[in-house]
């Protein structure tokens, strides 16, 4: 067994333990930190699966951006102490997840992947090929140019939508601002206005 495979199993095991911690721990901040660990280790998994660019993207986006976003969301929506983090029916959820796991693992193990061929004629038994950044960039801007542009529009719309949803009526500048802050006061939201 070579070093690459060994490091894959090691990283995969640590990442699964971290993922279990995300859904099992009682402390929401530990949950977020373990999620950052699990997602960054997935970046390493991409590296070991020979997708270099994706590893960089994963660590930049999940390690850098998503983690900050989640920690801020946890900070702003601080759950009260002693409040149950799980539903009462969590054993049922565990049972459902185990059934799902059984089906997925059965599908993965029972299928004869060595007989599988892709449209390009490669077989699953072949050695994996490193995907170079240059090829990926060329493909992204030629074959996948239209989806790429649509993705950028999706990001823009999500940004504007998030801004519009998250800003409260009270802090909105321009007409209606005074009205909104009066509403905020009536609803007893004044104490949280300073948080944002």
């Amino acid at each position: 067994m070579d070093l690459g495979a060994l490091s894959f199993y090691f990283v995969a095991a640590v990442s699964l333990v971290a993922a279990l911690g995300v859904v099992l721990t009682r402390n929401v901040v530990y949950s977020a930190l373990l999620l950052i660990l699990a997602l960054s280790l997935t970046g390493l998994i991409y590296l070991l699966l020979l997708a270099d660019f994706l590893a960089l993207v994963q660590i930049l986006i999940y390690g850098g951006t998503v983690s900050v976003l989640l920690l801020f969301a946890l900070m702003l929506t601080r759950p009260q102490d002693g409040m149950a983090l799980n539903h009462k029916g969590w054993p049922l959820a565990a049972l459902g997840a185990l059934l799902l796991l059984g089906a997925l693992v059965y599908g993965a193990v029972a299928s004869d992947w060595s007989a599988a061929t892709s449209v390009t004629g490669a077989t699953a038994g072949a050695a994996p090929v490193r995907i170079s950044m240059e090829e990926l960039g060329l493909a992204l801007f030629s074959t996948w140019a239209v989806p790429f542009e649509i993705a950028s529009v999706v990001l823009l719309v999500a940004l504007l939508g998030a801004l519009q949803i998250a800003r409260s009526a009270g802090s909105a500048p321009g007409p209606g601002g005074a009205d909104g802050s009066a509403n905020g006061g009536l609803n007893g939201m004044g104490d949280r206005e300073g948080v944002r």
Partner: protein, 102 residues
Amino acid sequence: MVPLEHVLVFSALMFAIGAYGVMARRNAVLVFMAVELMLNAVAINLVAFATRLDPQHFSGVVFAIFVITVAAAELGLGLAIVLRVYRMQSSVNVDELDTLRW
């Protein structure tokens, strides 16, 4: 070289952990974290198939990039909604969001 099956089993485990989190957690932010785990598991699958079965076109890697893009957009929008709900209800427990229940 890691066999394809082992990568698939790893990603199935991570997907099941995420699915459990989505079903069991009450806090909306924790539900989002579990959704991230599930999306991640899917992206691992796509990359494994791309490097092994489709090395000429590597569509799976491109798909994974789009999955990450959409996940980032979904998280930003979802957390904005969570903040809004918290301001209205002082709680982000998903079982208390029953305003639309008839």
